[in-house]
Symmetry: C2
Subunit: 341 residues, 2 copies
């Protein structure tokens, strides 16, 4: 029998070599139970002998599954560049999806053009589902995605009604309580907060945790809090503003490590020693930042790798039509002590 030119082997070839029909070979590949041990072995042998790989397109055609999922980021461009958090999320997504043998189609969505394209793409059935990172208030992406008949898992709470939405969030509020309680336990009396932008629910949750740990009323929170916009520069400015407004402050809980880095700069400039004069706690536990500030930063760890892994698992369950016990998962946060508090 002539071996064909070095075209990729098809299921037919495998079946022929194993001495069974295409159907049986297919059943082996899909781990169907109705197949005899001998057939199973023969097919497996043929598969590895031929180096067979199923043709994704053919399979997709009949199963109506593409084996790909979209990963959507809606974030203004500078943030994506500056904040290592995004790189980490993208990497975690790449790894987690590769682990389950699913193609990751990355889409960055900023402009209305991008939104239209994303809509076309998602509606076009080119992916089986989507992972959506869109933390901002009234994010267009969310409304675009929401009306599509497509399984979606969100990272954190998207703005608006959460009814029926699948998401994996970090316990932002709990983490903030942890951080604030820790500062209290150090005997600090005048604790302030550099928050993230209040059009993101994660920032609001952290603010609320701070507020509840200190039993503050709205006015109190407003006085002791400044928005740092989740950027380094914003953190620096917010810290300066707080120093001006509350000169006697002896501790600060900063809602992200990147902002905390900025806040530390501001504190140094103001001549305050950390942690002696002012204790500082960040949020994220982003090692690349937290371990390289001076002093190294005590921070609330939110494990992004874990979050993304859960998102992928959750989405896979949705795709397999399994029932998920809880649509909305919350991941615990822990305090990682270093030297700043």
């Amino acid at each position: 029998m002539l071996v064909s030119n070095h075209a990729r082997p098809t299921l037919e070839d495998v079946a022929a070599r194993a001495g069974v029909s295409r159907a049986t070979a297919s059943r082996v590949l899909n781990a169907s139970p109705r197949v005899s041990p001998e057939a199973l072995e023969a097919v497996n042998a043929a598969v590895s002998a031929l180096g067979y790989q199923p043709n994704r397109a053919a399979r997709a055609l009949v199963t109506r599954r593409t084996g790909a999922v979209a990963v959507l980021f809606s974030e203004p461009e500078p943030k994506i560049f500056d904040d290592p958090h995004f790189a980490r999320l993208i990497r975690a997504g790449a790894r987690a999806l590769a682990d389950v043998d699913v193609q990751m189609v990355l889409m960055l969505v900023h402009s209305p053009d991008d939104q239209a394209r994303a809509h076309r793409f998602l509606a076009g059935g080119h992916v089986d589902g989507a992972l959506v990172f869109a933390p901002h208030r009234n994010d267009e992406v969310v409304s675009v995605v929401k009306k599509l008949p497509l399984p979606v898992v969100y990272a954190g709470k998207p703005w608006g009604s959460l009814r029926g939405m699948h998401l994996v969030d970090n316990d932002n509020e709990g983490g903030a309580v942890l951080a604030t309680e820790h500062l209290k336990s150090l005997g600090r009396k005048k604790i302030v907060h550099v928050s993230g932008p209040l059009d993101e629910l994660s920032a609001i949750d952290r603010l609320n945790g701070f507020k509840s740990a200190l039993s503050l009323d709205d006015k109190g929170v407003a006085r002791l809090t400044e928005d740092g916009g989740f950027t380094r520069e914003g953190g620096r400015k917010a810290m300066s503003a707080l120093l001006a407004r509350v000169p006697a402050l002896d501790a600060v809980f900063v809602a992200s490590d990147l902002m905390a880095a900025g806040a530390l700069e501001s504190l140094h400039e103001a001549g305050r020693r950390v942690p002696e004069d002012v204790a500082v706690v960040g949020f994220d536990d982003h090692v690349a930042i937290a371990e390289h500030t001076s002093p190294p930063l005590t921070s609330v760890r939110q494990d992004s790798d874990e979050q993304v892994k859960h998102m992928v698992e959750h989405l896979m369950k949705l795709l397999r039509d399994e029932t998920v016990k809880r649509k909305q998962q919350m991941l615990p946060t822990v305090l990682v002590r270093r030297e700043s508090a």
Copy 2:
């Protein structure tokens, strides 16, 4: 006529509605010339009326094209997190590929496991081609990819023989000459260089540009140069080492903006004023960094967006079997003056 349930319309539906055959409808979609204006219009009308989108799997099955390309990054993890350059490349890739309606499948390749997976995936015919970012010496990814019958375009020169390889590089050497000449033109006499890791050809090229602009011999270069590893911290340390070794230095060309940021810190600590005492030129012109150092950084611009765009165009030509005039493209670099030199 009953409208079917809300299943996605197929080409058959479009053809029926337009009153033509499937074949004609297909030709319209693929912009074949052999089609009458009336038919063209009728089909287009039907397409938009039905909101038809071609089934990618079916198309892939017959054309043997997947409509997806892989984007491979082989870089140790910390780099990917810390260096905004990667975020920029990823973003540029996402945009450029979306523009030509091609799916971007992102793969980060670090471990041997990853390499095996990448090999399986690429050999499995799941993508039509690949964009490879693998700058390091003897990078496994390159050898894996090289023996595959798959169109590949590299970012920058991969290590090893370049014969027959398609790549888009920045004019690193030219940029380095530009930077060094600029420092000379400022009347600086003692110019040193913080290089990137010398297992990357881009770093070597920049070093060579520095060397040739100053007509240095090997010994001279060695004395005036220190490896900063393309990291911020490395830049700081390299600068300190150079300050110790060449106290009289009055200018430094740093091979990346991230390292330059570190070098500036080191210079400040050493009490040198920039640019009065020491003029500094970076490389990359990474705005997020260069505009926010103090003082703002003069830098050699390499336009990554442009580079990636060229890579995508190049790959598309390869996929269309067009002949490419030059397999290896070199993109010009320009000096962007700010305050540091």
